[in-house]
Symmetry: C2
Subunit: 325 residues, 2 copies
């Protein structure tokens, strides 16, 4: 596919609804303890591109779905995402996300666990307000998939070098929620099962590409820009796609062998390894795989009429692969 | 009301369905990581009286609901309860529950958080399998209520001496889920709104009584029987009903004043205070209040025909107040 440098203009058709999503999300703690409200506002203020809600809104509006139902769905999707981040940051002991202090940097572990639980509850409540049992079911399944993925990663640990396992991992971590965003929006728009399936594939494909690009940026980004050390996954013994491709060709690399064996390596060796991976062609191969997913997502869109929402979904797909953090 | 010493014979009409509930709960991790399955089995094997599933099953079957739907609901209710316990034990740093090692005594905090999340997800999935949007909604609301209650308790801390706040706390902690168990079972049995409301009151009332009795047992039980130090709440600065009644009459008690002020007191003073509370008539007053709730629960049952399930719901109410741990 061709790369085009684009902005996030794809949000223009849904600007008003994205503001409503912010309102709906922020209001979820209104009737509850004030510290909970502060925590939620803090989490939401720290940003994020709201790309998952955008997928839900654009998909549903392209199909003629009810905008207010879609706002509820989009808010539920982003809150589910937010809740998983709260627990992840606690588990990883991360004190910064997107350059902002995480909740666990400021709150006790107990308060952080409970805040995550509360946000899960509100995400589930909003999902139930879509009045679709199928959407509710997908929500619960997606949460189970995400959590099962994290547990699998936690217990499998280092040395994972297999494409199939990598794909399962990024599906659980990222693509499952993108898939649910697009699929649920289609379900709420009361379209045929075959149309729902096409949009499911769209969500799945851009989600897979999104995580591969994240994993690439972990190698190619600068620490100051990505807000964490370069190759942070590899430093934790986690093999992502660039490292997997590199390992297929350089199985004699002793630095990477150490990591695959579950050992730590010193900083000079780590820097050498990062340099070698960056210059091995593995990044390009990984980018090509992300491009294949994006092509797949654009392919399913071809069956739909040309509307502003349709063009935005195309641009969103392009944005995912072209984005710079 | 009269106290009668009774056994848990009230489970007899639903024995088969309670076994199905165990099966359904145990199977929730089957398609997932094996360590997750082990953790779930460990949690479920450590017991609990399954009193919440019993409320759901007996209520629904009394009203002629579909037994298989009720099994799904009952499993969802008990899993929601189990998930909250997993996170609670982690937050409190408790290593024993009902005499068994807690999950966090054996697992890392991260794995424990994720296991709780996974069980929440499966509870939500099962709730969605009841095919009732209202039940789904109640589930999510109940989780929010429980978590908001815990956060309120965490941030309010010691010195809570007000009946209203106590009632809000035990509603959030315990009665909300009993209420949802009975109410959801009634909803699934497609009865009139007025009948649903009666059963809601039944669930609410036995739930309130259940927690008051727990709070009494915390003072009157022996450490060996209740599996934790006597007056464990008071030791954490938490005022429960017996202490609140005592404080109303003995506001000059310097030991309790220290606790209300947020200070720790030494063991001899603590033992003196426990002795004083036990012998002040406050336990009896608290028991009377629990009895009033039980009377309320029996009162709403009077509107229903005499069936084995009806008698079991009566006996369950009696059991709650008569139970010894």
């Amino acid at each position: 596919m061709n790369h085009r440098m684009i902005s996030n203009d794809f949000l223009i058709p849904i600007q008003d609804r994205l503001l409503r999503v912010e309102e709906v999300m922020r209001s979820q703690a209104d009737a509850h303890h004030s510290d909970l409200a502060s925590a939620l506002h803090l989490l939401l203020a720290s940003g994020g591109k709201r790309i998952r809600p955008a997928v839900a809104l654009l998909t549903g509006e392209m199909l003629g779905g009810n905008p207010e139902s879609l706002v509820i769905l989009a808010s539920a999707i982003e809150l589910l995402h937010t809740a998983t981040l709260v627990h992840d940051d606690l588990i990883d002991g991360s004190f910064l996300r997107r350059g902002n202090a995480t909740l666990n940097a400021q709150w006790s572990p107990g308060a952080t666990v409970l805040t995550g639980d509360f946000i899960f509850a509100q995400a589930a409540r909003l999902a139930s307000e879509t009045n679709s049992i199928t959407v509710m079911h997908l929500f619960a399944e997606t949460l189970a998939t995400i959590v099962n993925g994290e547990i699998t990663q936690m217990f499998s640990g280092h040395g994972l070098v297999n494409h199939q396992e990598y794909e399962q991992r990024i599906y659980a971590k990222t693509a499952s929620l993108f898939e649910t965003a697009a699929r649920s929006a289609a379900i709420l728009s009361s379209v045929d099962e075959s149309v729902v399936e096409k949009l499911r594939v769209y969500g799945y494909s851009i989600g897979m590409a999104f995580q591969i690009v994240d994993d690439i940026l972990d190698f190619t980004g600068e620490q100051a820009t990505i807000g964490k050390p370069v190759a942070s996954d590899l430093r934790q013994g986690l093999m992502t796609l660039p490292a997997i491709y590199y390992w297929e060709i350089h199985s004699d690399d002793r630095d990477l062998q150490s990591i695959v064996d579950g050992n730590k390596i010193a900083e000079p060796e780590m820097n050498r390894l990062i340099f070698n991976i960056r210059n091995s062609g593995s990044i390009e191969k990984a980018l090509e795989q992300a491009g294949d997913y994006i092509d797949k997502s654009l392919h399913v869109l071809m069956d739909f009429p040309d509307t502003p929402e349709h063009r935005s979904l195309e641009n969103l797909a392009h944005y995912i692969i072209d984005r710079k953090i």
